[in-house]
């Protein structure tokens, strides 16, 4: 309110009137308005689509990581050399169950799951299936953050007495049992009978594309003594170690190294006969990569938004020049500089926001189209839509400001005389 004149500065009625005038102005030159909007439409659509793809990749990576389990180390037994060929980590039988028990005693260690993996042929009735069989302990389920779809896990006492029991992954169940309920049935692994105690919940693909559900878990002792007996007596190929928190992981890694070197009587200067990998660190790298990927896509798409904004500025500048006389008329009958500014600003914002709405619709539609056609994981977050509107409004204001200000600074008499 300016002193004494009794006029409301930005009365709602005035803004409404200006909105309808902005609409009229846009309507007067539809083709031009549409082409101007197209910049915003493509920009917003691209941002929404790219964020949806990036977010989809990120979510996929993160859910895979979550399925892996958190705060994980993998401890591999050492390499061996056979006839000059180095066999790689896990080939030498250096890690034992006793090592696993000792590691479990360390502070900061939550659970340890030793693993003696191998491949074996499974038979049930007329069906047979070759898959990886993991000899492990009940801790494996804890460490891998894995639940059972039905049945019950085997216990420490099964491990102690090396009983022939098994937990089946979903893929194995499908291939051996079809629709039949496997719990309580007996399958044959390498010709010995194993009682199926339970079925593991589905976990999907790992980061490297392996089917994590194509597996069978049996007690580690059973694997060592009865299934893969002759190969590594009493040894495990690797173990998975879960730290109690992400913060203690560096300390736990050092303690494990010291403990294992001491237990394996490795002298100073000699190489470790085992190797410890921080799985979580690897996973975090993957997650960060996905995030950077997502940001890159968004950033590239944002460039088209800025280009769209410049298009708006360009057209608004032309519009101000074209309508100089109109501005003069408005000023002659009482429009203040602020009224003229607001009018052109509203027009720029309106073009920008309408373009944004269409862009969001096309972006979301495109994302679903990609999902429908390719099955690629896309995630449209409400945040990205809200953000698009904010950015579109900001672009309208930012790029509309200069032309609007130019219009509002015209002198009434100069504007009126403009031909």
């Amino acid at each position: 309110m300016s002193a004494g004149d009794g006029r409301m500065t930005f009365a709602g009625g005035m803004v409404f009137a200006m909105l309808s005038e902005a609409w009229q102005a846009m309507n007067a030159n539809r083709m031009r308005t549409f082409l101007t909007m197209l910049g915003m439409i493509i920009g917003v659509g691209a941002v929404i689509l790219m964020l949806a793809i990036g977010q989809g990749v990120r979510q996929k990576v993160e859910s895979t990581i979550a399925s892996m389990g958190s705060n994980l180390f993998i401890v591999l037994s050492g390499s061996t050399t056979s006839g000059g060929a180095r066999m790689g980590f896990g080939a030498a039988p250096t890690l034992t169950l006793a090592d696993a028990q000792a590691i479990e005693e360390l502070p900061g260690v939550g659970a340890v799951a030793p693993a003696a993996p191998g491949t074996a042929q499974l038979v049930y009735g007329a069906n047979n299936w070759s898959t990886s069989v993991y000899g492990t302990t009940p801790s494996y389920l804890v460490v891998r953050n894995w639940t059972l779809a039905e049945g019950a896990p085997f216990t420490e006492s099964d491990v102690r007495s090396a009983t022939r029991v098994a937990l089946l992954g979903q893929t194995v169940v499908q291939n051996l049992f079809g629709n039949e309920d496997p719990v309580g049935r007996t399958i044959r692994i390498k010709d010995s009978p194993y009682l199926v105690l339970g079925v593991l919940a589905a976990k999907g693909q790992s980061l490297d594309g392996r089917d994590q559900d194509d597996t069978v878990l049996i007690p580690v002792t059973t694997a060592q003594r009865k299934l893969f007996g002759s190969q590594f007596q009493g040894s495990v190929r690797f173990m998975m170690v879960q730290a109690t928190s992400a913060g203690v992981m560096p300390a736990v890694q050092k303690e494990m190294t010291d403990l294992l070197r001491q237990r394996h009587r490795i002298r100073q200067g000699e190489d470790d006969d085992f190797s410890i990998r921080n799985l979580t660190a690897l996973m975090n790298t993957a997650a960060t990569t996905a995030q950077v990927f997502s940001l890159m896509l968004g950033a590239i798409a944002s460039i088209s938004l800025v280009v769209g904004g410049i298009g708006i500025m360009n057209i608004m500048l032309v519009s101000v020049t074209e309508r100089t006389r109109e501005i003069g008329i408005r000023m002659a009958i009482g429009a203040r500089a602020a009224d003229v500014l607001l009018q052109f600003l509203l027009e720029a914002i309106m073009i920008s926001l309408i373009g944004c709405v269409i862009g969001v619709v096309l972006g979301v539609g495109g994302a679903f189209l990609i999902y429908a056609v390719s099955g690629f994981n896309v995630v449209v977050t409400p945040v990205s839509i809200v953000m698009s509107f904010g950015v579109a409004a900001a672009i309208g204001i930012f790029f509309g400001w200069y032309p609007a200000r130019k219009a509002s600074r015209l002198k009434p008499i100069d504007a009126l005389r403009y031909q």
Binding site: A11, A332, G334, D339
Partner: protein, 247 residues
């Protein structure tokens, strides 16, 4: 505000008004110190040859342009002391401007054109439309509210412009050659409308014209020549050379 120095009885009071235009060749003086006083209810015609400064004077009186020096009181307010926004307010509520070229917005219908000043005085939509319809009816175009300016004749367009000038009940109508683009018959109708506004509603009117028969509708004549007033008095008493056509 210098209310004391400005007798509030007059609508227009200019003293020693000078105007120069800045050009590449240096300042070009247009008005050389004018003194004019217009009382409420007067009907004044300004005449003068091209380049005599009539339009410049009108633009200054209409607060569209500012004088180089001298003072101008409009309705008791010192125009030189007003901010840009206050000048806009004066143009909106105290003055109604009528142009030679009508200056209607081509895209807006007649109602919207007439109601346009009300947007800037913050009047709501319903009241705006109602008052615009009223005013259009007053100038005899009540049935054309939804038409666009290019769908009606020039005389009708000027009536619309007059309706727009009247919508905020101004004290003063400034008309810069309002009949310049109209034929004789239509000019008479427009002038009759001005006379009626002046005599019935008591609105002060200042109008610029080239034509003696248009000036004859006024009571008072101000004759400009080379930026100076060479006659200021009743139209009836003006010497023939002061009333002669100027273009």
């Amino acid at each position: 505000m210098e209310q004391a120095a400005a007798p509030s009885s007059d609508v227009i009071r200019i003293e020693r008004l000078h105007k120069e235009y800045e050009t590449a060749a240096g300042p070009v003086p247009v008005l050389h110190g004018l003194d004019v006083r217009v009382m409420p209810g007067e009907f004044v015609a300004i005449m003068g040859p091209s380049g005599s400064g009539k339009s410049t004077l009108m633009n200054i009186l209409g607060c569209l342009d500012v004088a180089t020096s001298g003072t101008y009181w409009l309705n008791g307010r010192d125009v030189n002391a007003q901010s840009r926004d206050e000048l806009a307010h004066l143009r909106n509520e105290v003055i109604g401007f009528v142009f030679q070229g009508f200056n209607l917005l081509p895209r807006a219908n007649l109602e919207d054109n007439v109601g346009l000043p009300l947007i800037y005085s913050g009047t709501g939509r319903a009241a705006r439309t109602a008052r615009a319809k009223d005013m259009l009816a007053k100038v005899g175009l009540g049935q054309y509210g939804r038409s666009l300016p290019n769908q009606i004749s020039g005389g009708q367009q000027q009536r619309v412009a007059i309706a727009r000038a009247l919508i905020n009940h101004p004290k003063l109508i400034l008309a810069d050659e309002p009949t310049g683009n109209l034929d004789t018959h239509t000019s008479r109708e427009i002038m009759a409308l001005f006379s009626e506004l002046n005599q019935r509603d008591g609105i002060t009117i200042v109008l610029v014209t080239h034509e003696p028969d248009i000036a004859a509708y006024a009571q008072r004549l101000v004759r400009l020549s080379d930026g100076l007033i060479i006659y200021d008095g009743p139209v009836d008493h003006a010497a023939p050379q002061h009333l002669e056509a100027t273009s």
